[in-house]
């Protein structure tokens, strides 16, 4: 459907541009490289502002702009995370120039930034958080951090467990990449937060489109890329220390990172990082939340060597957390749940403590990655990446006697992934990649829980082949790709009564995408992408058969489910002028065989009381929505920003609304810069408002009606001090400034608790 439209549109644009040109036949060629090490930059935007012509650099950093008129022109070069380069070029004949870009957030003497990092090149919309913005969000978990991107919200279980939601989809319908590796934990659980430390990241980006072809199954709603600092390739050392204190939970977070390169062996570099967090009971405006403390301890590191031909990297990360679960969220039966919902807040009124009791979660996750690439002739490149992951999740409930010290859920998940790809550049305008991906997974219940496991043990094997090809003609890019996956799953468990239940599943799938990107004028870029994606049913959707404490419901899975298929079409218009930047995204996503949890009429009666019965069902779903982000630089001091998103989701078979779909939200803020222009100690104060609407499109069944709309205010101030070669950044933030009591529709605990009250944060960041 979209293909002809895309081509037609591109044609019109090309045609429009080629008319009305004078006898201008000059060609400007050039190369964009990193200032620090002369390594080429792929994917930089090069613009001749006056003649409204541009190009994007290829994997060698090379660009070519033709049909240029004689005379002096302004050339603008942009690349994510780097300072814009503006210069006057006097073009009298065909000429060739080299442009050097400097990294924005890394201005460290003697440390060289690696040029081998692969920029993600896609015609899908990519939004990133890096530099100052990332620094402001330090101390938040991944979900909270990502809410800065329009279209990204969270699905939470209390305030400590927050899962990112992209365009209304979450859990197994999105993918998170930790330094290029598919993060494989127990994503299916609503109360299973991603096992990732945001302090690892130097940049976090979100691809909002379907990217199954590139990254494999599950990447249906989008992909989150958490990328650490690139490895240095020149001698020298630098580092960063963060210390964050926050009032709500009386907690503290600290992080230390070191980055350096060998002086003896050119091309050898490393970084190491560690962070830790401790917090106690959290506070809503009117009451303390019982047992909501958290502990976290993480470390990671990488070592790499590279020269002009070869690049290698070893990466290791360890993530470990203990999270207290709001005691009142564990209800014994339906009448308990109904009583607490009627009460609207927890019955317990605890004092502050750092202690964490049952119910709680202990989760740890290790990742080891080995990566290499080799540059072949003619700009071709061979990539290999192997990763091993171990995810260990223990969930503890309040139990009698000795059982209280035993987890009721104890799962260990091992994942091996192998990625092989070959990037080529056959002709000037064509480049692409072919690849192969292997995922092997073994999930085991560790015996001794005293509870019949919620999900079975299983072995999974997934093999995928893909090809992506991109055609670039001047500023126009057209890209398409195809993928085939095969998945084999063998599961086994012992049911109540000692019956061994074994099942074998095979899934096959083709996915494809096509997309295009075109700069309509020097300020306006348009991109469109149509992609299919798939997701095999997750293990809980197939096999759940037991009590879900939080919902006082028995959930029943169905082993006969087929894979979900999604068709997502997304369009983005980006305007970037000297004073105004606007990005508008619109999308539709049709999902066939969408799996959801449906309440049934049945009630299950036991000696423990009555429970609801929910069953997993498959239907067809339709999602559509828009995201908007706008920044207006009013004067050199004042800046106004706004970001909002709208999602609509329906069950098209039943003609009803889907549960837990993000409500309409708009965040608007004003900031004041004390200094103008580029300054060493930039001080900035900002004040913002978040308005979230009530969810009027509720599903037929919900335990309680959607909470009313709310509005909260946030305040922030940051400044920095230059201390010799070092730099101290200071930040002061207040969230929920007026201590407003509210509930959020996307929080599963909204039935019986409010969101957090005022939180005052003090942030110190020292760069050396």
């Amino acid at each position: 459907m979209s293909k002809p439209i895309v081509f037609l549109f591109s044609f019109l644009l090309i045609a429009a541009n080629s008319f009305g040109q004078e006898e201008c036949l000059l060609v400007l060629r050039g190369k964009v490289v990193h200032e620090e090490n002369n390594e080429p930059i792929e994917g930089a935007y090069v613009w001749l502002i006056d003649s409204e012509k541009g190009a994007v650099t290829d994997s060698q950093g090379i660009f070519r702009i033709s049909k240029i008129c004689q005379g002096e022109q302004t050339l603008k070069v942009q690349y994510l995370g780097h300072k814009d380069n503006l210069e006057k070029v006097n073009i009298q004949s065909n000429m060739s120039i080299t442009i050097r870009l400097m990294a924005e957030d890394v201005q460290l003497e003697g440390v060289e930034i690696h040029g081998h990092e692969d920029a993600l090149l896609t015609t899908n919309t990519v939004s990133g958080i890096y530099g100052d913005e990332l620094r402001i969000s330090r101390g938040q978990n991944l979900g909270e951090t990502l809410r800065r991107i329009p279209g990204v919200t969270t699905y939470s279980s209390g305030s400590s467990i927050q899962k990112p939601v992209i365009h209304g989809l979450h859990s197994n319908r999105i993918l998170i990449l930790n330094n290029g590796v598919r993060l494989e934990g127990q994503q299916w659980g609503a109360d299973h937060a991603p096992e990732i430390d945001p302090f690892v990241a130097r940049e976090i980006s979100v691809v909002k489109g379907a990217e199954t072809v590139r990254f494999g199954p599950d990447a249906m709603g989008g992909v989150i890329l958490v990328n650490p600092a690139p490895l240095p390739v020149k001698g020298g050392q630098s580092g960063e220390i963060d210390l964050i204190g926050f009032s709500n939970g009386r907690g503290i977070t600290g992080s230390v990172g070191l980055l350096g390169g060998s002086k003896k062996i050119k091309g050898l570099g490393y970084w190491i990082q560690s962070s830790s967090r401790i917090a106690g009971n959290l506070q809503t405006p009117d009451y303390m939340l019982d047992n909501t403390g958290a502990r976290e301890f993480n470390f990671s590191g990488a070592l790499g060597y590279s020269n002009s031909k070869l690049g290698t990297e070893v990466y290791f990360s360890h993530f470990q957390t203990t999270i207290g679960i709001l005691t009142d969220s564990h209800t014994g039966n339906l009448s308990d749940l109904e009583s607490i919902i009627e009460n609207g807040r927890p019955f317990r009124t605890p004092d502050f403590t750092y202690d964490i009791q049952n119910p709680k979660q202990n989760v740890d996750h290790q990742l080891l990655k080995l990566k290499g690439h080799y540059h072949l002739a003619d700009g071709a490149k061979l990539n290999i990446q192997y990763a091993f992951q171990r995810n260990h999740r223990q969930e503890y409930d309040r139990r009698r006697g000795e059982l209280n010290s035993r987890p009721s859920l104890d799962l260990v998940l091992f994942t091996n992934t192998l990625d092989l790809s070959y990037n080529h550049q056959t002709r000037k305008n064509w480049n692409g990649a072919i690849g192969f991906q292997l995922i092997q997974q073994a999930n085991s219940n560790i015996p001794g829980t005293g509870v019949v496991p919620l999900i079975p043990n299983y072995d999974m094997f997934n093999v995928g082949f893909f090809a992506i090809e991109k055609f670039t003609s001047g500023p126009l890019e057209i890209e398409g790709g195809l993928r085939y996956d095969f998945r084999h799953v063998e599961s086994a468990r012992v049911n109540r009564g000692g019956v061994l239940q074994e099942d074998v599943f095979d899934f096959n799938n083709f996915s494809a995408f096509i997309g295009a990107m075109y700069p309509i004028s020097r300020n306006l870029t348009f991109n469109t992408n149509f992609g299919t994606a798939w997701r095999p049913p997750s293990i809980n959707e197939q096999f759940s058969q037991g009590l879900h404490h939080g919902l006082a419901a028995i959930e029943i899975g169905n082993p006969d489910f087929v894979s979900e298929q999604s068709f997502k079409w997304m369009n983005t218009l980006n305007y970037s002028g000297s004073k105004v930047n606007v990005e508008l995204t619109g999308y539709t996503n049709t999902i066939k065989n969408y799996i959801y949890l449906n309440p049934t009429e049945d009630r299950f009666v036991s000696l423990r009381g009555t429970f609801n019965v929910f069953e997993y069902l498959q239907t067809d779903a339709f999602f559509m929505g828009t995201d908007l982000s706008a920044i207006w630089t009013v004067t050199s001091h004042w800046e106004l920003f706004s970001r909002g998103s709208i999602v609509r989701a329906t069950n098209t078979t039943e003609d009803t609304f889907l549960p837990f779909i993000p409500t309409d939200r708009l965040e608007t803020g004003l900031s004041y810069n004390f200094q103008t222009g580029v300054s060493e100690n930039n001080s900035k104060i900002s004040f913002s408002n978040l308005a979230v609407a009530k969810q009027h499109r509720e599903p037929d069944f919900d335990l309680a009606p959607a909470p009313p709309a709310y509005m909260i205010w946030n305040l922030g101030f940051q400044t920095s001090f230059k201390m010799g070669n070092d730099k101290l950044n200071f930040g002061f933030q207040v969230t929920n400034l007026f201590d407003k009591a509210y509930k959020d529709y996307m929080n599963r605990f909204r039935y019986f608790s409010h969101e957090l009250g005022r939180n005052v944060l003090i942030k110190l960041n020292y760069e050396f």
Partner: protein
Amino acid sequence: MKNYSYLMTLFAAVALTFSSCKSYDPVPENEGEVITDVILKFTELNSAGSPTGTPIEVRATDPDGLELGNGPTIETITLARGKTYLMEVSLFNSIENEDITVEIEEEKEEHQFFFLGTAFQGTAILTYAYDDEDIDGNPVGLRGIVQTIGFNTAQMRVVLRHDLNKNFTGANNPNWENFVQAGGETDLDITFPVVLN
């Protein structure tokens, strides 16, 4: 060529790791927590407070535990009018053959029974008084004194709570309808029919 051999070594190592990673064989779990049998034992007390006559046992059973399947079987409490009984509650897990009463005894201060329903409301046909206490002097409800005072048939709802705040105002009342306000979680919630002859 050197680089290729390095890649080959890596590949071999990967192949080895892939084949060595298998899930465990599943084993049966002992579900020690489930309560499948609840027994109320009524022993008549004479005016001196001494046991007399043959004790009456009333059972509620659910051999499936928390598994979907048959609902529980709940017997009727049939007692004589105008008498005083000692009511003792015992709990049993027939799946694992475990006596849960002992576990509750050991964690008395975290558990409490409440006795609710029409039997205690309006023109009540029963009264209940706790006859045991934990280390803090708070009631538990494994033992209690029941008096049969009315004429009608009615229902007695037995609720076992754990992890509650026993010092909460009202929590010492065995017929406290708002027991949820003291916090905690329900372990048992059974409604027995009561007939007084």
